[in-house]
């Protein structure tokens, strides 16, 4: 079924009786060409691009819970391409281009809203750093505008510009940055993959990865064994447990990152605002809720919830930046399991086992990467060569020290990002 304005109108007249489930619920087949472990954003987009770009449709996505039930449904929906380092820069730039055509490509409204993202700075030194970052973004072909204090005020008059600790000196505006509807991205990719013949197998937990003579041969699952010559591990925060089934240990530590949403309010925040010094960022959803978050809790966790000290820290930072939000009531908070890599950048690579691929290490930035990550991982699986936009996301960069991508400049060790 193709979605269109006419279809919505027609169903309005027919009492919405014509909508059907948008993907099948098939039984597992005994053999697939490719098995993808993990039915989140990255796994689903990988399946979609395997089918669309490479004609590989005998593909299964194995999800132990339900599709899109992990981080793709637990993030703060920010989409941006404001990276600095070679490797990240071209990758996120590619992702932004895919985002811009995504709704049309998927025939699914992902509600991509390029409302502009503003990163605030609070000193002359920080202004220089952001000017440099903006130049790197422009060199990459993306957009960046350095705003002075009055420039920021014209967009965000409600900030506390004279905060004694962090007075606002200006901001780096990334006009193409914005948000998207996170669930819709998972559902759109799932529907697109299913329509091309990919089997989406939910409630199907992988319990073992079969390897014979250095070649992957399939997986054991709670819905029976499945043979495949190519298996991709795309399990985000759970990557360590999945990789262990293949005898691998990863340079990944799973941490909790919290996010919050208030009750629905009238439109007040038109942009995405990032207050890096306070570890606070905020945007307003189309339903009116203020969606905001901060930094990691900074301890290893799989609990999908955090502790109160970080919640308090985030609220304090929000109040310091924009005192007007003090009256808003928080409706919900939640946590996601972040697959933190030592240098803060991701991994899309082959492994020592033939036919076994790894996609992980997205830290707290996986959502905006979903299109390009799937695109590059599908290319890697189909051709056995890295895609040019993700060629630097190598697993061996930690062992060799070559090609580390420490975007924050804090050091390539755990617990520094």
């Amino acid at each position: 079924m193709r979605y269109s304005g006419f279809k919505v109108f027609l169903e309005g007249l027919r009492g919405q009786s014509g909508w059907k489930p948008v993907w099948r619920d098939p039984e597992p087949k005994p053999v697939y060409d490719v098995v993808i472990i993990g039915g989140g954003g990255h796994g689903l987009s990988t399946a979609y691009y395997l089918a669309k770009n490479h004609g590989l449709t005998n593909v299964a996505v194995l999800e132990k819970g339900y599709l899109g039930g992990g981080n793709v449904g637990r993030n703060t929906t920010i989409v941006r391409a404001n990276y600095f380092l070679p490797g990240n820069s071209e990758f996120y730039s590619h992702s932004m281009k895919l985002w811009e055509g995504l709704a049309a490509d998927l025939n699914y409204n992902v509600m991509h809203s390029q409302r502009g993202l503003i990163n605030l700075f609070h000193s002359d030194g920080q202004r220089d750093a952001f000017a440099r970052r903006g130049n790197a973004m422009i060199n990459q072909g993306d957009d960046a505008v350095l705003l002075d204090r009055e420039g920021v005020r014209s967009y965000l008059p409600y900030l506390d510009f004279d905060n004694p600790r962090f007075p606002v000196y200006g901001g780096l505006l990334h006009p193409r940055g914005g948000t998207a509807r996170h669930d819709a991205v998972a559902w759109g990719y799932a529907r697109g993959a299913d329509r091309r013949g990919v089997d989406l197998l939910q409630q199907c937990e992988v319990t073992g990865i079969d390897i014979e003579g250095g070649q992957v041969t399939g997986v054991q699952t709670t819905r029976g064994p499945i043979k495949a010559k190519k298996v991709a591990m795309i399990a985000a925060g759970r990557s360590g447990q999945v990789a262990a089934m293949a005898g691998m240990r990863l340079p990944i530590e799973s941490h909790v990152l919290q996010a919050f949403v208030t009750e629905g309010l009238k439109p007040v925040i038109d942009h995405v605002i990032s207050f890096g010094m306070g570890h606070f960022y905020i945007s307003q959803s189309d339903k009116g809720g203020l969606v905001f978050g901060g930094d990691l809790d900074f301890y290893a966790s799989y609990a999908q919830r955090g502790n109160l000290p970080m919640a308090e820290h985030v609220m304090e930072a929000g109040m310091a930046l924009m005192p007007m939000i003090g009256q808003a009531r928080v409706l919900r908070s939640w946590g996601g399991i972040m697959d933190m890599s030592p240098d803060g950048s991701p991994i899309i690579d082959r492994t020592a086992t033939k036919g076994l691929y790894l996609n992980c290490g997205w830290c707290y930035g996986g959502f905006k990467a979903v299109p390009a990550s799937g695109f590059a991982t599908a290319h890697l699986i189909a051709t056995d060569r890295p895609h040019e936009t993700a060629a630097r996301f190598r697993l061996d960069r930690f062992a060799t020290g070559r090609g580390l991508m420490d975007e924050e400049g804090t050091g390539a060790q755990h617990n520094l990002h």
Binding site: S301, Y302, N307, P309
Partner: protein
């Protein structure tokens, strides 16, 4: 989450800084193979369940080892590094 400093007793999470897996206590010899250093610096078991970690208690300036569950945030036991490596 509250943690028990071996010297100061049970205290608020805010007083502690997290270092990471307690394998930091088993530093390789200076002339160890590069692979040993790589594993020490980067590779983690990353368990979803019981784990042993190094935490720092800022007010009293001492390190401790905590046995904790990463799936539930339950803290089972804390001890000084000396006790942990005995």
């Amino acid at each position: 989450m509250r943690l028990t400093c071996p010297h100061c007793g049970e205290r608020d999470l805010r007083e502690f800084a997290y270092k990471g897996d307690a394998l930091a206590l088993s530093r390789p010899e200076a002339n160890a193979e590069l692979q040993a250093w790589h594993e020490y610096l980067h590779i983690r078991d990353n368990p979803a369940g019981p784990t042993r970690e190094l935490w720092y208690h800022t007010p009293c300036g001492s390190w401790m080892v905590a046995e904790r569950d990463t799936a539930t945030h339950a803290v089972h036991r804390t001890m000084t590094p000396a006790e942990a490596t005995k």
